[in-house]
Amino acid sequence: MLDVQERPAAGAVEAPAWHRKDLLDTDVLSRAEVELVMETADAMLEVRSRPVGKVATLRGATVVTLFYEQSTRTRASFEVAAKAMGADVVNLTASGSSVEKGESLIDTVRTLEAIGADLLVMRHGKSGAPYLAARHTKAGVINGGDGTHAHPTQALLDLYTMRRHLGGLEGKRVVIVGDVLHSRVARSNIWTLLTAGADVTLCGPATLLPRTLASAGGEHGRVTLTANLDEAMADADVVMALRIQKERQATGLIPSLREYINVYQVNAARAAKAKPGALIMHPGPMNEGIEIAPDIAHGVDSVIEEQVANGVAVRMAVLYLMATARTK
């Protein structure tokens, strides 16, 4: 404690604060909190750039990843992030755990807390499941994607990637195109983008565009819905394509994959309508040739791989903030 006095705070620089036990969605995050995550991620990106991109800050902390749904990048990204911070990591999936024997979510979460989990990264097919888990454990819960509801760390890493290229997001136009209805990525992105001051255009077939999201921007009308991608692309600073789950075709929400490609694929001709150098993004995994053309996915304006790399830094930041802000 005395060490604090070694660098007294002169002037009125108020230290940013983090008081959240859980990170379940981005809708509750203030601009200052988002800013704190971004600034912390800057420091983490620098750590990752070193010859040994690893620190021991969170040694003694245990991070459990609990994935009831399959995942490559999110789970691996959290694991790499936790290890880069010096934490111990336990990975659990629904198959091969007691979940298969019928253990309830609440019992599983309590068991993990008893084992010594400090932070729980959870993915679940049911929207809201991490909220239920968070209410039944003292461990901090990070939502790694729940149903069609939210994916907060994806939204934070997307915002971080945009900021690295565009600076501030104030007044920038971000187009999110595809299956918005089923996209937890789109939902969480809307909140961070609005908080950062961007205008959001959601684009896709009318069957995949929830009307209720039009009011997400409040009275400012900063969320626009449109079924016309060519129009939406005009003056876009960022174009984010969402994955089309092929099984949606069976539900009749899109007439045919071929028609979807014709009307909604992010390709060179459409990208040319956006601002020169507009960022091309995708949360992954991509169906190249369906929602995004391969030459665009791997083109000069694509930051898709950078999103993945930034994801580690942003998740290190989130783990750091949540692990150190925990009250004893």
Partner: protein, 182 residues
Amino acid sequence: MTGELLLGPGEVARTMRRLAHEIVENNHGTDGLIIVGLLTRGHPLALRLGRLINEFEGVEVPVGSLDIGLYRDDVARRGQPTPLRPSSIPANIDGATVVLVDDVLFTGRSIRAALDALLDFGRPARVRLATLIDRGHRELPIRPDFVGKNIPTALIQEVQVLLKETDGEDAVYVLNTEASHA
């Protein structure tokens, strides 16, 4: 809170000039010298030392900044995350003489953390420590090589360093906290 002015702008400037000369003398020149300031207030001091050395040696010495937030020994105890900033080490420190620069040397815990942080960037031949103020009360076996001013203090006092770059003026105060009147 009452405060006593210990150093004014002129004294800070003269002290920094002397420190810059001492560093170069101790290193027998500027070969292999890298100056690294601890964030926040050690960094502007490191930049000043770099400029001063350039003035009288005509050599541009690499100057970097080091954030110690991830290396503090009280990370888990504070209950709040320490704000972090990216470190910037401008040259390969392997085999170099690194001079760490901080504004106030007190318990020595910051310097312990800084040594850990620095060694993550490589293996310097030697590490020296320069501080504008040494106020005593060490809790770890750490000793400065270059000291601007020794100030005997009581534990209940605070030393406040203000710098033009961060605070608009150069000054060093000793503050008597409320506790001292109790």
